[in-house]
């Protein structure tokens, strides 16, 4: 059986996010082989009812975004769509710039983001992970749930993802240059 089909079967059966590392051990393949097979699988799932979502090193299956309205009628829970101004701003920062620390978020927003971050954490839209550079602080990153809420298969599918990242990088570098010149 083809590797991509094996991954499909495995993800279907698991019905939860599986790390690429786990797939390498389960299927006895190296990471590149797994990633290639995932790419093929993503391609083959186009026009299908299910789709593959990936965030960093985790992949999982979900219903196609085109089926969203259909599934919404089946789910009884009320989906709270309103994020609020602060929530939206903070989520966008985390989506385009994450993982990043609270201090970095505060720097961009110009206000204290403690409460809004807690709110987003509780709603499961973001995740908090240890900061490898600083034991005392945490980094915030989008959750797989947020990605699925946005109906995208991977974070790179966000509108102007690379462009926004690049622009912000340029702003930062320019300041550094100017700062150095003065």
């Amino acid at each position: 059986m083809k590797l991509e089909s094996q991954i499909e079967a495995l993800l279907f059966w698991k019905a939860e996010p599986v790390s690429i590392k786990k797939l390498t051990t389960l299927l006895n393949k190296n990471e590149d082989e797994i990633k290639l097979a995932i790419a093929i699988l993503v391609e083959s799932l186009k026009e299908r009812g299910i789709t593959l979502i990936q965030l960093e090193n985790e992949v999982t299956l979900g219903t196609a975004k085109e089926a969203s309205d259909l599934i919404k009628t089946l789910t009884k829970e009320e989906l709270i769509k309103d994020l609020g101004k602060a929530g939206l701003e903070t989520l966008s920062i985390i989506l385009y710039q994450g993982p990043l620390s609270r201090a970095e978020i505060d720097y961009i927003r110009g206000v204290n983001s403690q409460f809004i971050l807690r709110n987003l954490l509780v709603r499961g839209l973001i995740e908090r992970v240890d900061n490898p550079k600083d034991q005392r602080s945490f980094l915030y990153k989008p959750s797989l749930e947020l990605i699925s809420y946005l109906g995208i298969s991977k974070i790179e599918d966000l509108p102007e993802f690379e462009l926004v990242k690049k622009d912000i990088e340029n702003f930062k570098n320019k300041t550094d240059e100017q700062g150095n010149q003065d």
């Binding site: 279907f12 059966w13 698991k14 019905a15 939860e16 789709t51 979502i53 999982t60 299956l61 979900g62 219903t63 196609a64 975004k65 085109e66 089926a67 969203s68 599934i71 919404k72 789910t75 989906l79 709270i80 769509k81 994020l83 101004k85 602060a86 939206l88 701003e89 989520l91 966008s92 920062i93 989506l95 385009y96 710039q97 720097y107 961009i108 927003r109 110009g110 206000v111 204290n112 990605i147 699925s148 809420y149 946005l150 109906g151 995208i152 298969s153 966000l158 509108p159 102007e160 926004v164 622009d167 912000i168 702003f171 930062k172 320019k174 300041t175 100017q178 700062g179 003065d182």
Partner: protein, 245 residues
């Protein structure tokens, strides 16, 4: 009690939000010229804020001071700024640019959020029960166990059956009883009514019953003297009921 909520008159998320709003209102690009032009507006806004939270107010004032520096520099080009001040100005510009970029991008996030949700499989697998028998479990021990269980099962007991023999027939009993009543009824009224003496009405009912029996000719009654006990006996035989049936 401090109020549970605060009202921000102009709905700005923070100083950068306000600053960006002011710059965009004037349709300016973000640079030091634009910032110098909105300085006054920014300060007016701060003054109009009522009950600004301490934490946020510090942010507003920090940015206001940078703006004043920018404006001063634009009015007095000869004003020499320290390296730190220069850095502060560029930093504010950068922050504003980044903030604007994020804010622009957030518009599409808002549009996308919750619109075309990719739903995960709804019934995720719960923990699987795994069959992991103890080492002591083998064919022999299993066979022994089932034998033990069979042995300890409660045995079916045969309860000896007894045939109920007929001792006396119903007809005989009735005859007997009739005989007893007709022959042997001789009693004092006090005995007759004693069973229900606690209520006066019972005694009255008993007396009425006795009179009815007299009327029907079933019993005779006699009273030796006034207020004495009344003796009742059946008509047929005046014998006392000594006989054992």
């Amino acid at each position: 009690m401090p109020p549970a909520f605060t009202i921000k008159t102009p709905a700005f998320e923070g100083p950068l939000d306000l600053l960006l709003n002011l710059v965009e209102k004037k349709k300016l690009f973000i640079n030091d010229i634009a910032l110098s032009k909105v300085t006054d507006d920014f300060i007016v806004h701060i003054q109009n804020f009522e009950a600004m939270p301490i934490g946020d107010s510090a942010q507003f004032i920090l940015i206001a001071s940078t703006l004043l520096l920018i404006k001063s520099k634009s009015l007095l080009p000869s004003l020499a700024l320290t390296e730190e001040e220069e850095e502060g100005i560029h930093d504010l510009e950068t922050r504003l640019k980044i903030y604007k970029r994020i804010k622009d991008a957030s518009n599409s996030i808002q549009e996308m959020f919750g619109e075309q949700i990719i739903f995960a499989q709804s019934q995720s697998r719960s923990i699987e029960p795994v069959f992991s028998p103890h080492q002591s479990m083998n064919l022999l021990s299993l066979a022994q166990s089932i034998k033990d269980i069979i042995k300890s099962l409660p045995k079916k007991e045969n309860i000896p059956k007894a045939v109920i023999r007929k001792v006396i027939s119903l007809e005989e009993t009735i005859d007997n009883l009739t005989k007893r009543i007709t022959q042997g009824l001789r009693m004092k009224f006090s005995e007759f009514s004693s069973a229900h003496k606690e209520e006066k009405v019972n005694v009255i009912v008993s007396f009425l019953a006795m009179l009815e029996l007299v009327k029907q000719g079933i019993i005779n009654v006699s009273q030796e003297n006034n207020y004495g006990d009344i003796h009742m006996e059946s008509k047929e035989v005046g014998v006392p009921r000594y006989d054992v049936v």
